[in-house]
Symmetry: C2
Subunit: 367 residues, 2 copies
């Protein structure tokens, strides 16, 4: 399949056709609101009918901690660490494969919910397209919590300050505006940007300090995602940015539950990291890797550009192809759509991009 | 109205009657699962029909931070702090007042969702009872994020370790088991406990380090809740434990949007903190304060017992009564129900307790 096939199946009309049966006058043609305040949130026009919804955890380890490590209110005691929070919605009449959505650095599961300018996010939209959807907070973030012990030990001067983890935060100017490719410099958008720039300040509200760098060895999210896919009896793992490469590691741990992998603008594809045996495992699962526009624009941060990251994914594709796998590497401009940012699940055409992913899942991952 | 009036309106049968119209074979008589794993989560038997759902933020302040404070990936830049994450569901056919649910210390909005043993929480149950419901993560916690600056400055040895906030965590043995009155000592339940003790370990997974102590002056949650109630054009604020007294402060800031206050086992009622003028303001809003059973059991932690806290609320009631207000102070044993813990939104009879609150709202807060 060449990239132009997606032009045929993925214009906005496809959404109108697909959702028409489920949702009479739905979703599309929404305008632009000023910010993500309550009064600017625009609900869908049709009701959402759920078979079930709720939240649970995957994994977690019980560990002993000292009174100081616990914040000194009680004696030495036990807590749980490394659990993963998962919220979910199963639509009434769900007929498609479960999708697990994982956010990127200094963000939470909120990434996939209502956009900064108040439109429907991918979480609800995939549910309205008959997929059960599971949205996680990465371990060490947001509702998954984190292990506070080293911070309290440093505060008590029991361990040196340098042992305390660095808490990364991607800030508004460079971390978000340039690095997320809203525009070439802070405050200046690309003329064709799809990001709702009037709400760019509001993206900042979604930011959560990041306690678990991409560099951590044996990242516990890898196994938690593999376990979750197994518990769901099969799921597509959809990841973004920092979490982009996680499903590769999850599949190498245990690919049984992983029916498909969708990596949206992965921070890396780790093309040269894996052995040929590992690549042979990855070649068993269909993979879609999706990038937006303006890839070579400077990020404003140290490290690789998005073009560098795309090139790394091209190298991974070559290895997967050579092993007989099915890896689709695509940019949105290849489909005829210009101006998508790194945060394409929040872009004005976020549902059009979702349709592209939904079509790939329909094509590659049978129920 | 004396406490026995609630016996008449609040047995489990009331739930069956109330929900029968909305939800044919619903919710009640659920058994006990072993833990809050996915496979143990039990959905309701009838579909949930939502007019809308999603998430947004209240408040937040844009501040400049140094590269070190940001975790040193980019240059000095701007972030947002003190924003409050809010998720919500509005039922199709909503006919009742909005309810805002606020969790307690070292927890998140997860408190009100699926219980540790996999049953429906108050969030969904109130929605099924026709209330739009808004569940927050307290500022400085979970999806609301926190300001990481002081931690990174300490790590860089720019400020002394003692300037770093203490990160409180209530641990499994004393923080949860005895302090939450599951039983008189860790691992030993009260014979009549309503807490799903086979899932007590799983409660620990919900724990999030707490960066904002109850003692903080000018707690930003107070104004955010007042603002949210205004944005909702009227809401009941339902709080728990640490957040118990927040609505009192919110009402003193601006009571316009606050149609009612439900304080579930408040950590304090601050009976002697407010001026007579402030008490006169609080006397304008109906207030329900609800405590569970075994109040005088030792908490296992320093500080007041729950009986001490109840007594403080009795003192507040006396002041509110004297000012002509309407404060209902109730323990669940007064309604004939024994064994409820501090975490009554997770107890086996959590929907029975919810019915008691729903009946009070119906009675005191007109739409």
């Amino acid at each position: 399949m060449n990239s132009m096939d997606y032009v045929a199946v993925c214009p906005p009309l496809r959404a109108a056709i697909l959702t028409a049966a489920l949702l009479p006058s739905a979703l599309l043609g929404a305008g632009v609101a000023a910010a993500q305040e309550l009064h600017e949130v625009r609900p869908a026009e049709g009701p959402l009918v759920l078979e079930s919804r709720g939240s649970f955890f995957v994994g977690g380890e019980q560990v002993e901690r000292t009174a100081v490590e616990l914040g000194s209110m009680g004696p030495d005691d036990r807590i749980t660490i490394d659990q993963m929070y998962v919220e979910y919605m199963v639509p009434d009449g769900a007929s498609k494969v479960a999708v697990v959505m994982v956010h990127g650095a200094t963000l939470s599961g909120k990434t996939y919910d209502t956009t900064p300018d108040g439109r429907m996010g991918w979480y609800e939209y995939f549910v309205r397209n008959r997929h059960p959807v599971y949205v996680v907070d990465q371990i060490g973030r947001a509702r998954s919590g984190f292990d506070q012990s080293t911070f309290n030990n440093v505060r008590a001067e029991l361990t040196p300050p340098g042992e305390q983890p660095n808490l990364l935060r991607l800030a508004d100017g460079f971390g978000s505006w340039t690095n997320f490719r809203i525009g070439p410099e802070p405050g200046k958008p690309f003329p064709d940007t799809q990001f709702p720039i009037e709400a760019a300040d509001k993206l900042s509200r979604q930011s959560v300090p990041d306690l678990l760098g991409t560099s951590r060895e044996d990242n516990p999210n890898w196994k938690a995602l593999s376990d979750l896919a197994l518990q769901l009896d099969g799921a597509v793992l959809l990841t973004h940015s920092q979490s982009g490469p996680y499903p590769l590691e999850s599949a190498i741990i245990d690919a049984q539950g992983i029916r498909g992998i969708v990596m949206v603008e992965p921070g890396t594809c780790n093309a040269q990291v894996h052995t040929d045996e590992e690549i042979a495992i990855l070649a068993q699962t269909p993979i879609l890797i999706l990038f937006g526009d303006h890839l070579s624009s400077p990020t404003g941060l140290p490290g690789p550009t998005w073009q560098d990251r795309f090139d790394d994914c091209t190298a991974l594709k070559q290895r997967i192809d050579a092993a007989g796998g099915d890896l689709r590497l695509l940019t949105t401009p290849e489909t005829g759509v210009r101006g998508n940012s790194h945060m394409m699940m929040m872009d004005r055409n976020n549902l059009q991009i979702a349709d592209l992913i939904l079509a790939w899942i329909d094509d590659k991952v049978a129920r």
